[in-house]
Symmetry: C2
Subunit: 221 residues, 2 copies
């Protein structure tokens, strides 16, 4: 199947890209510059892996998200909270319906370029806070894309039953250099090690039993 891979430059989507190449014809990777505090850190990682695999990489500007949406993940929003992902204050990092918007745009892009599927790296650990990462949402959104396109574009979600540890194990099998991935929401020179997504990143390597190649600003407790 010809597919487009949604590629943020984080652990999950980079692994989804290498994984998708085993089973599909990946005709392109799509990233979005939507005004998050860490876009300038993660987009170069998306470019790095696309270039390494010789796959066309396109970055689409969604400036209106930073201009009009409410979220602390955005440059226009407040401080990134610290602590574990499941904590209530991490809700401040939700960008409303971000995955729905990205999947919709990818759907129109896919239909325009003859791709039949869109690959997203959503996983079983994303559910607590982010409504648009849950399998129930992704299943319905896939049905919407099928109904709303002539070519019946599908959303493929290969990691939806895996936790982040299993994703890193899969990535290690695929030979991925995880030092070239970015998670931290703060978007500073190094990944902070203490925001929700950094805490989750550290746990992923621990769960996988694989050394974490990341240089964090703050050492582990």
């Amino acid at each position: 199947m010809k597919v487009i891979v949604l590629l943020s430059g984080g652990l999950d989507s980079v692994t989804a890209l290498y994984h998708a190449r085993e089973n599909h014809d990946v005709i392109g990777t799509l990233s979005f510059d939507y005004g998050s505090k860490h876009n300038h850190c993660e987009l170069p990682m998306a470019a790095y892996h696309s270039k390494k695999l010789d796959i066309p990489h396109i970055v689409l500007p969604l400036t209106f998200i930073n201009d009009y949406f409410q979220s602390n993940l955005l440059k226009s929003g407040g401080e990134i909270p610290e602590g574990h992902y499941a904590a209530e204050n991490m809700k401040q990092t939700v960008v409303p319906f971000r995955n729905g918007i990205m999947l919709s745009i990818a759907g129109g892009f896919a239909e325009s370029h003859g791709a039949e599927g869109i690959v997203i790296g959503a996983h079983a650990g994303d559910h607590f806070i982010y409504a648009d990462c849950r399998e129930i949402f992704l299943a319905v959104m896939s049905a919407a894309l099928r109904e709303g396109t002539d070519t019946k574009v599908e959303i493929l979600r290969p990691f939806v039953e895996m936790d982040k540890g299993a994703i890193v194990r899969r990535g290690a099998e695929l030979g991925i250099d995880y030092s070239q991935t970015w998670s931290c929401y703060k978007g500073e020179e190094l990944q902070c090690g203490v925001c929700g997504t950094c805490v989750e990143r550290r746990e992923a390597f621990q769960l996988a039993g694989i050394p974490d190649p990341t240089e964090y600003t703050e050492a582990e407790d």
Copy 2:
């Protein structure tokens, strides 16, 4: 209910705006500048009615559609075909998943601004060519928005069982000045009168039994 109205500046969405004001608290209208040949003609109409009703109007730029999508409706595409809407060649005017993209963005915007619903003027006559105008698509897309947002944003589709004649009759009851609406896909000085959407516009007034205030380039056969 607090709602956002999707407003292109055409017959259907302008009527949907005036209709929505009867039942809902319309907190804003949203238009999209996506690079169609007629955006520069229809967006001023959307601005006109928003201003007249004293409702904030926001135009979001979606430049990537013209840059990367395939459609003759776009500046980057070929000629607009002429003839009746149901004809096979009108398929060239499909912008892949356009409504899905607009509804998704409106969903995130709605959640960011405390709106619980999005109003779209899709109607029973849109089905033949445009997959993303059909009720089956809109129903599933509404379910996707409900699942993918914390506030469970809904898509309201008040005209989904009406034909375009019934919409114009409803608009006449609401006192809408239809000379201040734009349909023509060609985007020239006057509406052409012979492209698919102009043919449909003319039929709408005939079906409604209401004089058509539009000055077309080409007289009726």
